[in-house]
Every structure is written in structure tokens, then in C-alpha cells.
């Protein structure tokens, strides 16, 4: 299969998306005013802690928030140029699986325990290819399982989900997501339930799919290690908002938002292992406080209550996204506090 070259087209465009849920005694916006694109062939990772709204973002894109919970979606979600929020349910059904599909988080619970693997993959395959005969579907399924790096596809085909290891199950789930040759795969923490060595294998597999088929991947994770290993670009979410967005290099090496900085410092530093004995390991820093409860009305900068080292006047009352470079954006002007020194340095040169 050929590698797609038109890197500039957007598979997914999200503009000003706000997702509101109904909760006992009111409404709550779990995603508020987020905008981002996923380009063709790109690997974009959304990183955030629990309650950041990252899961709700992908549930909004897939329209999978349960009817009993959803109050409204506002904004635009364009998949391949078409706004799905203005689309009929029937039409959106045709897009699911074919243009966009999901790799579920927990492969253990995401496969139907009552059917054999082959039957399940074939069912989705035949759903996406209505004209395919049973024999064709079986052939394609086996090919697909083989492509997923499954050593014995025949055996897996005839196995029940509980008979497989976690890694194999995750590969099956990825195969299901690929049955319709989608342009975009949304991966919901696909490796967080796996052991580190398996995590690496699955990430490599997704990388390979991205390389070979040119499939764009939108992944969510809570692990910056995964971000640095896998992503082209990264979005940092917190309390339903995007706080920072940029290429992996920009966000990891030049983080601007205090939250991003804090998160990065929470990751243990391993470089002391290579150094001389005398060099002490860097103390693990942490962010004080906890993620805010969205059910309570939040005003102003949602992260401000957890920052102590930035003077009040650097906080905006209602922070907006500020453009730093073409790709690097950050919410709130507090980043200027950190830039202060370097800016002063630059002015000195002038």
C-alpha cells in the first residue's frame, strides 16, 4: 500500500467543541471550547490525567456519549470535511468503521465473550464490506490477523477471547479497527492495561500501521513516555480544556504552561543512573492539589488554584490560546513568567 503524501489535508477538524452532560441537579461541560486538527498520516496524542476530558473528547468525536448523559454538543466536528454534528445518524453510521474507527482501551472487556475471535472480526469486516462473501471475509480476516503480527492466525481465529493473552487480544482489537481501512484510528489508552514490554509491542504495531497504510492515529494517554515515543504532535488537556499544544519536541523540551512543566517534572529522571556516584538523583517534584471537580462552576484559569510560583498578574481572567510558533499554542499568558528571563536576555542583546 502506498504512503499518503498529502500531509496537509485534515482528516479531523474540531472547532470550538463543547460537550455538555446532564448530571443530577444541573449540567456540566466536560469538554469546553477545544479546537484541533488531525492531519493525514499524523500521530496526534492527547495527554491528560483522569477528569481532563480526554476520553470525553474522543467519545464526542465518535458520538458515543450515552443518550441518558448527553445534553448537547456545540461546535464543529469535521471528519474528512463533513461536519458529523449536522449529519443524519444513518450517514454517520457509514462513516464509523470506514473513515474513522476506535481501538478500545480494554481489550479484555471490549470483545464479546460469547463468540470466537474469527466470528467477531468477520462480523465487523462484513459490516464494512457489505458485498463480501463469507469466504472472502474469512480470508481477509486471516490476512489481517497475520498483519497484526499474530503468529498463528488460524488458531486465534478459532479461539474465544478469554483464551488469549492480553497482548493478543489488543492485536485483535486493532485488527477489528482496521477492517474498514479507516483514514483515522482513535486509540483510547490502548496500552495502559498492558505490561511495559507488551506496551512497546503494541505501540510499535500502531507505528507500523501508520507507516504502512498512512492511517492517521489520534491516541489518548496519561503517560508522557508514550507521548515521546509515539507522537508527532501532542495536546495537553486539563479539566476539559486544551492547555498546550505543539510538536513533541516543543512540548517536551520547551513546555510553557505551568501544568505541562509540572507533569513533566513528575516523571522520574533516570539520567543519574549513567552518572558518577557523587551525583544525586533529582528529587521527584509534584503538583500540589487535585484535579478540580467539574460539577462545580469553574471560572478563570482552571489550573490557577494549583500554581503557587506565578504572580497573580500573570494569570488571565479568561485565558485564551496564545500562538507561540505555527505549531505551538498555549492557554493563559502565565507562560510569559517563565519566558521573562529569556526575553530579558534577548532585550539585553538589543
Amino acid at each position: 500500500m502506498r504512503r499518503m503524501n498529502n500531509g496537509s489535508t485534515n482528516i479531523l477538524e474540531i472547532e470550538n467543541l463543547t460537550t455538555t452532560l446532564r448530571i443530577p441537579g444541573g449540567k456540566v461541560s466536560v469538554v469546553e471550547g477545544i479546537s484541533f486538527n488531525v492531519k493525514a498520516g499524523e500521530k496526534l496524542v492527547i495527554v491528560g490525567e483522569s477528569g481532563s476530558g480526554k476520553s470525553m473528547t474522543i467519545n464526542s468525536i465518535l458520538q458515543m456519549v450515552p443518550d441518558s448523559l448527553i445534553d448537547s454538543y456545540k461546535g464543529i466536528i469535521k471528519i474528512d470535511g463533513e461536519n458529523i454534528l449536522e449529519m443524519s445518524k444513518r450517514k454517520f453510521k457509514d462513516i464509523r468503521g470506514k473513515k474513522i474507527s476506535l481501538v478500545a482501551q480494554n481489550a479484555m472487556t471490549s470483545l464479546d465473550p460469547s463468540y470466537k475471535i474469527g466470528k467477531q472480526v468477520m462480523e465487523i469486516y462484513r459490516h464494512n464490506h457489505k458485498k463480501a462473501s463469507k469466504e472472502e471475509a474469512k480470508k481477509e480476516t486471516l490476512i489481517l490477523l497475520d498483519k497484526m503480527g499474530i503468529k498463528n492466525p488460524e488458531h486465534v481465529f478459532h479461539s474465544y477471547p478469554h483464551e488469549l493473552s492480553g497482548g493478543l487480544r489488543q492485536r485483535v482489537v486493532i485488527a477489528m479497527a482496521l477492517t474498514g481501512n479507516p483514514k483515522l484510528i482513535i486509540a483510547d489508552e490502548p496500552t495502559s492495561a498492558l505490561d511495559p514490554t507488551l506496551q512497546l509491542q503494541i505501540l510499535d504495531l500502531l507505528n507500523e500501521i501508520n507507516q504502512k497504510f498512512g492511517t492517521s492515529i489520534l491516541m489518548i494517554t496519561h503517560d508522557f513516555g508514550v507521548v515521546s515515543y509515539f507522537a508527532d504532535r501532542v495536546i495537553v488537556m486539563y479539566a476539559g480544556e486544551i492547555l498546550e499544544m505543539g510538536t513533541v519536541d516543543e512540548v517536551i523540551n520547551y513546555p510553557l504552561h505551568p501544568y505541562t512543566k509540572g507533569l513533566l517534572k513528575c516523571i522520574p529522571d533516570l539520567s543519574w543512573l549513567d552518572k558518577e556516584d557523587k551525583i544525586e538523583k533529582r528529587k521527584l517534584s509534584s503538583i500540589s492539589g487535585e484535579v478540580p471537580n467539574l460539577a462545580k462552576k469553574l471560572t478563570g484559569c482552571r489550573f490557577a488554584p494549583r500554581v503557587s510560583d506565578i504572580p497573580e498578574d500573570y494569570h488571565e481572567s479568561s485565558p485564551k490560546m496564545h500562538k507561540i510558533t505555527d505549531t505551538h499554542w498555549v492557554r493563559c499568558t502565565c507562560y510569559q513568567y517563565y519566558l521573562k528571563d529569556s526575553i530579558a536576555g534577548l532585550e539585553g542583546v538589543k
Partner: protein, 268 residues
């Protein structure tokens, strides 16, 4: 200089029952002939993937699970030779912190009462117990109102702090930390790790840290045992293991660590 606190010798655990007429043998060798020593004041890491037997070792040290073969010695005394008094003393000197703080507390009792009951067995004065409970709750960074809350009313991080308070209230010497932070968010995770570090210094605690994420182990532990399929593949100081791993399993585990600069580079 180093004084062994806990010694594990040829420890073996077999789960399940023997094969008979109606039962196909479903015996599992969870831990196979494992030996190591934990020194006073150090943090000893046991790492391995799920199913490697690391959790079972923790449970056996706590006497929550009986071992099939081998010996565990606490301060030179064999578990199997504990008298009633030494067993009682041992119970207050070795404590555990569980992975899932959500199920480690009885959902129908207040946090405070659950922290209090190990102490209530020793001290009859309820007022003194309450003071002590409040002291420990505040020491782990919770407000004292939390004592009157039910477990589901606390966040995961808060519950894990409460778990630490419960483990510390009898002033133990050895704490078994069974993946204490793996269910927590990144920012909360480092809060708990920092708390554990501070408490270790304050009370001169010895930790056995059971984990599967090797980056945290590298940061937190002085010495490490790498487990695989019930066996210890390698034991050594953190630096030794991370810089000069010998066993292919160790190498494989290390090379799966994802750091901010990509994969961890293992020297051959």
C-alpha cells in the same frame, strides 16, 4: 553496616490442588525457589510483569498467604518458629499498603475507625487513640475531617494517603508497598512517592516496593530483584541492574522503559 531485616530463603509457593479423578491438575507454581535479603533502612524493589509472582511474595511476607516451601526470617527468626508473642510483635512491625485503595478499605466504615482499629487492640483509652489517629491523618497530608468520611467520599490519592496512615499507626519497621501508586494519576503519583520518601527518613522505615513500572523503581529503590515466571532472574543495586544488566529478561524489561527521550538505552 548493613543489617539484614528480612531474609527470604528458597521460598516456593504452589497454588491450586493436586490432580485427582475429577480434577485435571491445575497447580500453578507461582513462586519458585526465591531467595533474597532486605537490609534495614533500604528500599528493596521487586519488579516483574503481571503473573511473575511478585505480589504473591509480598503476601507471603505479610503472612496473608502461606508458603509451600522454604523459609522467611524476620530479624533472624523463622516465620515457622514464631511463638504467640513474637507473632503478635511481628504483626505490628510489618505492614502493607495495597494497590487498589478503593477496595482496601471497608466501604461501610469511616476512614478514621479503620485507621484506629489496629491501635484499639493495644490501647484501650479511646481518646488517646483518636488523638493518635488525627496525628497520623494530618501527617500524611489529609485534613482531620477525613477521619469521619467514608472511603468512597475520598479521591484515590486521598485514600492512598489514608492507607499509609493506617499502615504507620503501629509504628512498623517494614512496609510492603504493593504497587501503591500504579492506579493513581501522574501528579498524584509523585505526591505519594514523595510522602513515602519523607516518611522513610522520619521513621527509619524499610520498604519492599513491588511494581511493574521500572522508571519509578529506578528512582525509588536502592536494590532491585527482577522476577519472571516465579523466579528471581537478577538481584543487585539499582545502578548495577540498570547500567549493567546481565539477564536477557532484565534487558528486555529495561529496554521497554519509555522516557522523555524515547526508549531507555540498555548497555550490552
Amino acid at each position: 553496616m548493613t543489617e539484614p531485616l528480612l531474609e527470604v530463603k528458597n521460598l516456593t509457593k504452589i497454588y491450586g490442588q493436586k490432580k485427582n479423578l475429577l480434577r485435571s491438575g491445575n497447580q500453578v507454581l507461582a513462586v519458585n525457589n526465591v531467595s533474597f535479603t532486605v537490609n534495614k533502612g533500604e528500599t528493596f524493589g521487586i519488579v516483574g510483569e503481571s503473573g511473575s509472582g511478585k505480589t504473591t511474595i509480598g503476601r507471603m511476607i505479610m503472612q496473608l498467604v502461606n508458603h509451600t516451601n522454604g523459609d522467611i526470617l524476620y530479624k533472624g527468626q523463622k516465620y515457622s518458629e514464631f511463638t504467640k508473642e513474637s507473632a503478635e510483635r511481628f504483626k505490628s512491625k510489618v505492614q502493607i499498603i495495597f494497590q487498589d485503595s478503593g477496595s482496601a478499605f471497608n466501604p461501610r466504615k469511616t476512614i478514621g475507625s479503620q485507621i484506629a482499629y489496629p491501635l484499639l487492640k493495644k490501647i484501650k483509652d479511646r481518646k488517646a487513640v483518636l488523638d493518635e489517629v488525627i496525628k497520623f491523618i494530618e501527617m500524611v497530608g489529609l485534613s482531620k475531617e477525613m477521619a469521619y468520611r467514608y472511603p468512597h467520599e475520598l479521591s484515590g490519592g486521598q485514600r492512598q494517603r489514608a492507607g499509609i496512615a493506617r499502615a504507620l499507626i503501629l509504628k512498623p519497621e517494614l512496609l510492603v508497598l504493593d504497587e501503591p501508586v500504579s492506579a493513581l494519576d501522574v501528579s498524584v503519583k509523585s505526591q505519594i512517592i514523595n510522602l513515602l520518601e519523607n516518611l522513610q527518613k522520619k521513621y527509619n522505615l524499610t520498604y519492599i516496593f513491588i511494581a511493574h513500572n521500572l522508571d519509578l523503581v529506578a528512582y525509588f529503590c536502592d536494590r532491585i530483584a527482577v522476577m519472571y515466571h516465579g523466579e528471581i532472574k537478577e538481584v543487585g543495586s539499582t545502578k548495577q541492574i540498570y547500567q549493567f544488566p546481565h539477564n536477557p529478561i532484565t534487558k528486555k524489561l529495561l529496554s521497554s522503559i519509555l522516557t522523555l527521550d524515547g526508549r531507555y538505552k540498555v548497555s550490552n
